[in-house]
């Protein structure tokens, strides 16, 4: 009896980590943009959906992994272009204007997805087999393990990029102090555009990872975006590490609550996500890893 509960717990934790990895990558995308511009990009989820549709179209012409990589590249280029064309003109506008612009972008990209691909639900292939593998008497889904691997792999690559490359270092410098970065010769505008590109690619990754289980349609990422916000707020909007840890934590908590807390089930999952945002804002507004910043008003 106890062995059964343990194996169920282990399965739920692993599948929670899989959804958590997806929330975490989208949360990381939000944090990357927020850190350097103080703007919360509400269109992040719709951008992810749009690029997942692109992947879906590409997969009619090529096999999974080439389409996957090509989609990431397209998303990156699209993110850079979006920043240069749409965001740059309002670079010096108040943060609120840019946030409202991002909400406009959300509606626009959502409409664009429906217009191009229609609003009917499409099935999206998974890179990983859905059959389970047994590890010490516990059955894990290969799909879950694959999603965890891809998300954490992407995060690890990004961490190495920020730590060891010149451009990564310059992007961190711009996030900390744009004025000072200019004085050492960094092209601040391009670093912001690169940030949008990386965020868009991370979003595409999360979209492609979540699509096999929720099915592809224009509103696919709306709830994922909410969980990603919860994850980012939980970790601290300022902290990339926090976004990832927040995502994984949230994924596991939601899954366990859905399984073991009778009344949560699957209907109240979104409400739990909102409750997390609210609780963090009330108790610890800076999040688990964020810095408390005193701002003069």
């Amino acid at each position: 009896m106890l062995a059964f509960t343990f194996s169920q717990l282990a399965q739920q934790v692993v599948s929670g980590l899989a959804s958590g990895g997806i929330y975490g990558s989208l949360a990381l995308a939000i944090v990357l943009i927020y850190r350097s511009t103080r703007v919360v990009n509400f269109a992040q989820g719709e951008m992810a959906t749009f690029t997942t549709f692109i992947a879906w179209s590409l997969m009619h012409h090529m096999s999974y992994w080439p389409a996957f990589v090509l989609t990431l590249l397209i998303a990156f280029g699209g993110g850079v272009a979006l920043e240069r064309v749409v965001i740059r003109p309002v670079e010096r506008a108040p943060v609120l204007s840019v946030v409202i612009l991002s909400i406009g972008l959300l509606i626009l990209v959502n409409g664009l997805s429906s217009w191009i691909w229609g609003s009917d639900v499409k099935s999206f292939p998974s890179a990983f087999s859905t059959r389970p593998i047994r590890v010490g008497g516990v059955a894990f889904s290969i799909q879950d393990l694959g999603v965890i691997g891809v998300s954490l792999g992407a995060v690890a690559l990004l961490a190495l990029f920020f730590r060891f490359t010149k451009v990564g270092l310059a992007m961190r410098a711009v996030a900390l102090n744009p004025g000072e970065s200019e004085l050492v010769g960094v092209r601040v505008g391009w670093m912001l555009a690169l940030g949008w590109g990386l965020a868009a690619a991370l979003g595409a990754l999360s979209g492609m990872m979540v699509a096999p289980s929720v099915f592809l349609e224009p509103n696919m990422m709306l709830s994922v975006l909410l969980y990603a916000f919860a994850a980012a707020v939980l970790g601290g909007l300022d902290s990339p590490l926090g976004a990832v840890v927040g995502g994984l934590t949230l994924g596991v908590v939601l899954n366990l609550a859905g399984t073991y807390v009778g009344f949560v089930g699957s209907e109240l999952r979104l409400a739990v996500g909102l409750a997390v945002i609210l609780a963090v804002l009330l108790v610890r507004p800076a999040g688990l890893f964020g810095r408390t910043v005193a701002r003069k008003v």
Partner: protein, 215 residues
């Protein structure tokens, strides 16, 4: 106002608070709106953005240290060399600045924000040197530093100017220190040049000292 710094020259800009010393430097580096003509190495740079000016070889160490406090000492130095592509030479320059400031190597992984004020000023200077600038501009480098640290700082500036032929434009309120170190000086008074000349002569002139430099 008209101001020039020759190649490998050491020039000081003096004056009271609000005389426009900082603004003068910022006009050169492009961090303030400017009019008139600014020429560097025969090229007009008056319309260039700060990052472009920096890449041309003008290093600006702003007032108040200007290091990235959350980045490590080493990362600050790497950022200084950001515009450069000559990797081997950059590596030699790491050794060169460590030669000037040996403690940098010992504390390379420490966040710059945890250094003392004097150390942060030295780090800001070291970071500027990593860019291999042709002109080094410093804004009030002595501000808030102990006299012994100020002496060390200006001693290093003197060596950079003499041994490496680095042109230096230093803005200072501490006229005594700046006039001893520099070859030529300008004295600013609310946005215009009140006086200029050889530093040694300005320093020797009793009336100049009393009316403009207040010591």
């Amino acid at each position: 106002m008209s101001l020039r710094v020759d190649e490998a020259e050491y020039v000081a800009v003096l004056g009271a608070n609000g005389a426009g010393k900082t603004t003068t430097l910022r006009a050169v580096s492009g961090t303030v709106r400017r009019s008139g003509t600014i020429v560097f190495g025969g090229k007009r740079i008056g319309g260039k953005r700060p990052d472009a000016v920096a890449r041309l070889g003008i290093a600006h160490v702003p007032e108040g240290r200007g290091t990235f406090g959350e980045l490590s000492v080493w990362e600050n130095l790497r950022l200084g060399a950001y515009p450069r592509r000559d990797r081997a030479a950059v590596r030699r320059d790491f050794d060169r600045v460590v030669g000037y400031f040996p403690w940098l190597a010992r504390r390379r992984d420490q966040p710059a924000g945890t250094l003392s004020g004097g150390e942060q000023q030295m780090l800001a200077l070291a970071r500027a040197l990593m860019a291999r600038p042709r002109l080094l501009m410093l804004d009030e480098p002595s501000l808030g530093l102990a006299p012994i640290v100020v002496r060390e700082l200006f001693e290093i500036l003197g060596r950079l100017n003499l041994d490496e032929g680095l042109a230096i434009l230093v803005v200072e309120q501490n006229a005594n220190v700046a006039l001893r170190a520099s070859k030529r000086a300008y004295v600013l008074e609310v946005g215009r040049i009140a006086l200029s000349g050889e530093s040694s002569e300005l320093r020797a002139d009793e009336s100049v000292r009393r009316s403009y430099l207040g010591y």
